[in-house]
């Protein structure tokens, strides 16, 4: 199985690299540094939310409320700003509020033992509703330029977007935790067999609880970044992002049943989706076709490896039979 893992990872990463190379050669304006910045900004929310989502899906659960948490923190950010709080206070506050939203999810799921899919569909509606309560139909726009500018800007005006540092740092932290620490090991065990994990002394409920808190906090942070990027705090910010994130994580080879998957695969999945969409848009392929490509990619990414291995198996068996006959 670990072998199959490796090939899956390399496959998706290779595919991503291939798409990037082909696109820079074939698509006009794809390889420019400005387009690179645009792409990084486009994948920023998906990639950040995908990090804790990967952990959660590896443990066999799901969090569909992330986009609504994002909307809630965005709304609150506008509200705080209107009420004269300083931005330096607002940012940590929003992250904490995101974490609190995660605490509620975590409590319902691990404390009361409710299924996460059902709970987070409920809080998806709840948090988005609260976002509307906070800001209503309004939008708050006048955030300070040194912050909004930082999010959309590049390091020293060059080719490397500022937010890329954030992405790299967080991805490294999450990657190391998942792949090289006891906590990471326990996540896979929980996802594959929670009872056996419990018998091995792993605190299943507590671990899952904290994952939801982290997921909420990251969603809160992304709410802040989203607001600053578009200089617009609104209740409907990020609506629908949850499906894009889940799609990217699954595309990256994480099993929806838990216990399988790797972070490099997920990162490649996010980059692949964003790069393809960017390239297709530059080629004036319509938004509708983007839908079809995204969907097909998602299905094919799991289907193809399965098909290949089953064809290989049949072929081997046939050869065996022939040699026996």
């Amino acid at each position: 199985m670990s072998r199959k893992f490796a090939t899956w990872d390399t496959a998706i990463i290779a595919l991503t690299v291939l798409v990037l190379i082909i696109a820079s050669l074939v698509v006009d304006n794809f390889g420019t540094s400005r387009n690179f910045t645009f792409m990084v900004l486009d994948l920023l929310p998906i990639i950040l939310v995908a990090l804790p989502m990967t952990f959660i899906i590896v443990t066999g659960e799901i969090d569909l409320s992330v986009a609504s948490t994002l909307g809630l923190t965005s709304s609150l950010m506008g509200w705080f700003w209107n009420h004269g709080l300083s931005i330096e206070t607002i940012i940590p506050l929003c992250i904490v509020i995101g974490a609190v939203a995660g605490v509620l999810n975590g409590f319902l799921i691990t404390g009361l033992g409710l299924p996460s899919l059902a709970v987070t569909i409920g809080t998806l509606a709840l948090y988005r509703g609260l976002a509307l309560v906070v800001l209503g139909d309004g939008a708050v726009a006048d955030f300070p330029f040194n912050y909004t500018g930082w999010v959309t800007g590049t390091i020293g005006g060059g080719a490397v977007p500022n937010v890329l540092i954030l992405i790299v740092v967080l991805a490294l932290i999450f990657g190391v935790i998942l792949h090289a620490t006891p906590v990471g090991r326990s996540l896979y065990a929980i996802g594959a067999n929670a009872q056996a994990a419990h018998f091995a002394g792993i605190r299943v409920a507590r671990t899952k609880f904290w994952l939801y808190v982290v997921s909420g906090a990251v969603a809160g942070l992304v709410g802040v970044l989203w607001t600053l990027r578009y200089s617009s705090a609104r209740a409907d910010n990020g609506a629908g992002l949850e499906l894009a994130v889940v799609a990217a994580v699954l595309l990256g080879g994480v099993s929806i049943f838990g216990g399988k998957g790797s972070l490099p695969g997920v990162l490649a999945g996010v980059v692949l989706l964003t790069a393809l969409q960017n390239a297709l848009r530059l080629e004036d392929v319509s938004g509708q076709a983007l839908n079809i490509v995204t969907g097909a990619l998602l299905v094919l990414s799991v289907l193809l490896p399965n098909l290949i291995s089953s064809i290989r198996g049949n072929w081997q068996r046939r050869k065996l039979r022939q040699s026996a006959a």
């Binding site: 709970v119 998806l124 709840l126 609260l130 309560v133 049943f257 079809i292 969907g295 998602l298 399965n306």
Partner: protein, 335 residues
């Protein structure tokens, strides 16, 4: 988790069923709303509520069957869209066609979409959530590409098609009758026929189902085709009821449908819950949103309240399940 099949003495059964909780919640909600605004129980209002539930309940039925097999069908909203657009296009091009043809077209489109889902899940060995998340995008994209910016308007549709949404049999609208029939028949089959029990078995333990010699492939395709076909049927009802159909019809419905199923007590891990529970879930969700509108609750609070109620409903359901588990242990106890 509750036993779908455990059948202690009848009295016990009614007190413990998870559907009872929904019925009680529904009754309380209707009562409270009616006290505040008696018009809530007026003929027109009840009719509107039932009509609004019908479409959701039809989709929830198919979804419940799929969820019982430990799968999920997220593509239903997009299937509704493609079917509604197909039917509206056919009916506006051939206004002479009878209603039954419209229904058959919708069922066929939906069944084809469901079949593709099922084949990918079963033969492609791709998890249902991945497949149907993918086809959610694909079917929607196909509808968009087909429709372009165009829209089928009410004035292009034949009158008998539009009237179908308002006509009734003995005072009960056709839409509601169809929904009742779909929910009732499916519940009955799931409870009393071999194929129904096999679907429960498949969801309860997929590997055991294979070993037990259950025709897993056939049943699974059947479940997905049913879910697709019912989403297709919902598309026809949607087109007839709303008259205006564009490529975005039914966007985001999948979450409502899954919410209805879950609120209705069908466990997302498969193997337990009932179809009529899912139908009740659909009714409850619809009544909640219309009650909030009637109670004149601030528009901005409405969504938050719906969310909170969904969470509450799941929590209450869990409470019932825990109590059943405890009584089970007591019954076995010999200490």
């Amino acid at each position: 988790m509750t036993p779908a099949a455990a059948r202690p003495p009848i009295k016990f059964d009614i007190l413990k069923t998870r559907e009872l909780g929904i019925v009680l919640a529904l009754a309380a909600l209707v009562l409270y709303t009616t006290i505040n605004n008696p018009r809530f129980l007026s003929g027109q209002s009840v009719r509107d509520n039932l009509l609004n539930t019908a479409i959701l309940a039809v989709m929830a039925t198919g979804q419940a069957v799929v969820v019982i097999t430990r799968n999920i069908d997220l593509s239903v909203g997009s299937v509704l869209g493609i079917s509604a657009f197909a039917v509206a296009t056919v009916m506006s091009d051939h206004p002479g066609l009878p209603m039954i043809i419209a229904i058959l077209v919708g069922l066929a489109v939906g069944a084809a979409a469901g079949l593709l889902n099922g084949v990918l899940v079963r033969y492609g060995k791709v998890p249902a959530l991945v497949v149907t998340l993918g086809t959610l995008y694909m079917y929607r994209g196909i509808t968009y590409s087909w429709a372009g910016g165009s829209q089928v308007n009410a004035d292009e549709l034949p009158a008998h098609f539009l009237n179908f949404a308002n006509d009734n049999l003995l005072g009960v609208p056709w839409l509601v009758l169809i929904a009742l029939l779909v929910v009732g028949a499916t519940t009955w089959v799931m409870r009393n026929y071999r194929v129904g029990r096999e679907l429960y078995a498949m969801g309860s333990s997929p590997p055991a189902a294979e070993l037990a010699g259950i025709k897993v492939a056939r049943n699974l395709l059947g479940a997905f085709v049913l879910s697709g076909a019912l989403a297709g049927l919902a598309g026809v009802l949607f087109a007839a009821r709303f008259g205006t159909v564009d490529a975005s019809a039914g966007t985001g419905y999948e979450l409502n449908v899954v919410a209805a199923v879950v609120v209705g007590g069908v466990a997302v891990f498969g193997g337990s819950g009932t179809v009529w529970g899912a139908g009740l879930g659909a009714l409850l969700l619809t009544v909640i949103s219309s009650a909030l509108a009637v109670l004149d609750i601030n528009q901005f609070w409405q969504q938050a309240i719906v969310g909170a109620l969904i969470v509450l409903a799941i929590g209450a359901d869990r409470l019932v399940a825990v109590r059943i588990a405890r009584s089970l242990r007591k019954r076995d106890a010999h200490v």
